[in-house]
């Protein structure tokens, strides 16, 4: 696997982390004990996840000519 392939794996894992964080914090927020901080962190996580996905598509387009092996 080339650096490109690993970068793809990494980007996927990172977006999963961000999305996971977002879901987890938002669920916390909608519980009776929810705090504003939870909402903020959840939204930030969501934005990060979206940003990472956008970046991933950009980098794949940019490195189209490079192989995965």
């Amino acid at each position: 696997m080339s650096l490109k392939a690993v970068h793809l794996v990494f980007v996927t894992a990172l977006s999963a982390l961000c999305a996971g964080l977002a879901v987890w914090k938002l669920v916390d927020f909608f519980r009776p004990t929810g705090q504003a901080g939870d909402l903020a962190l959840g939204v930030v996580g969501l934005l990060c996840a979206a940003g990472v996905v956008v970046y991933g598509r950009y980098f794949l387009k940019k490195l189209k000519s490079v192989g995965y092996l």
Partner: protein, 256 residues
């Protein structure tokens, strides 16, 4: 005597030697950290109800470090792409940024360690427990910034708790036991220091390699740019692994 496939890939396997070597090495690294994470799971599952610490680490700092490492993964990729496009100056720029980001990561990590290693729990002879950061000490007295608690278990979950700032003065002859928040404090901190310590050593190793490839090692560019590009790629593979490990460490230690 020349060893074949050090630069060009072998046609039937499609890769050059160093890449195979790095992948094998990373496979063993996966097993190394796999062992650590299994230890984490086993010890955490076995911990008695309500004793596992929560919220002991600063989530903002952890998030910042996560972002820094993620960014450094991007710059490593860009540095490699620059080599492929034969743009050496661009390579130098991005590799330099990677180096810088790595150093900042270690700096923040060092600050977090420092914060833990100046934090104490003091059990007094009258049974009260003081917990806080070290301010100063004389032969007769210890001064902490923190709070008193009645039970140790109150310290376990610190999520959403405001930091206590009152100054506490403790007479030395009242102190029964004074424990620093180091690896010996409890299983959680033992895991925290061991796992992030081992990860930190990997970061340091990666930075040494990057520094070499940025500085003296980059002379190879003039004589054999293909080989140099391979080196950048292999170092990048290692760096991505280190970053991936952090992506697992961060939720496991900071968030849950």
């Amino acid at each position: 005597m020349d060893i074949p496939y050090t630069v060009q890939p072998r046609p039937d396997t499609g890769v050059y030697n160093a890449k195979v070597g790095m992948w094998l090495f990373l496979a063993s690294e996966v097993m190394l950290f796999g062992g650590l994470f299994s230890a984490y799971i086993l010890l955490r599952v076995a911990a008695p109800e309500g004793t596992w610490p929560h919220g002991w680490l600063s989530i903002p700092l952890g998030t910042l470090n996560t972002l820094i490492l993620a960014l450094s993964a991007v710059t490593v990729l860009l540095a490699w792409a620059a080599c492929k496009a034969r743009m050496f100056d661009r390579y130098k720029f991005f590799q330099g940024i990677t180096l810088l980001l790595g150093v900042i990561f270690l700096g923040i990590k060092g600050y977090e360690y420092h914060d833990k290693l100046t934090h104490y729990t003091v059990v007094l002879k009258d049974g009260r427990i003081a917990d806080g950061h070290w301010v100063s000490a004389t032969p007769s007295e210890v001064v902490l910034k923190g709070e008193f608690v009645a039970e140790r278990s109150e310290l376990a979950d610190r999520r959403g708790r405001a930091k206590a700032h009152e100054e506490i003065r403790l007479a030395r002859d009242q102190v029964q036991k004074m424990q620093v928040y180091g690896p010996a404090y409890n299983t959680y901190l033992a895991l925290y220091f061991t796992m992030t310590g081992l990860h930190g050593l990997h970061v340091l190793g990666g930075l040494v390699v990057f520094a070499f490839l940025w500085g003296p090692g980059s002379r190879l560019w003039k004589t054999d740019p293909d080989r140099f590009t391979n080196r950048v790629e292999v170092a990048g593979l290692f760096w991505h692994f280190v970053d991936l490990v952090w992506i697992f460490l961060f939720p496991v230690l900071y968030l849950t």
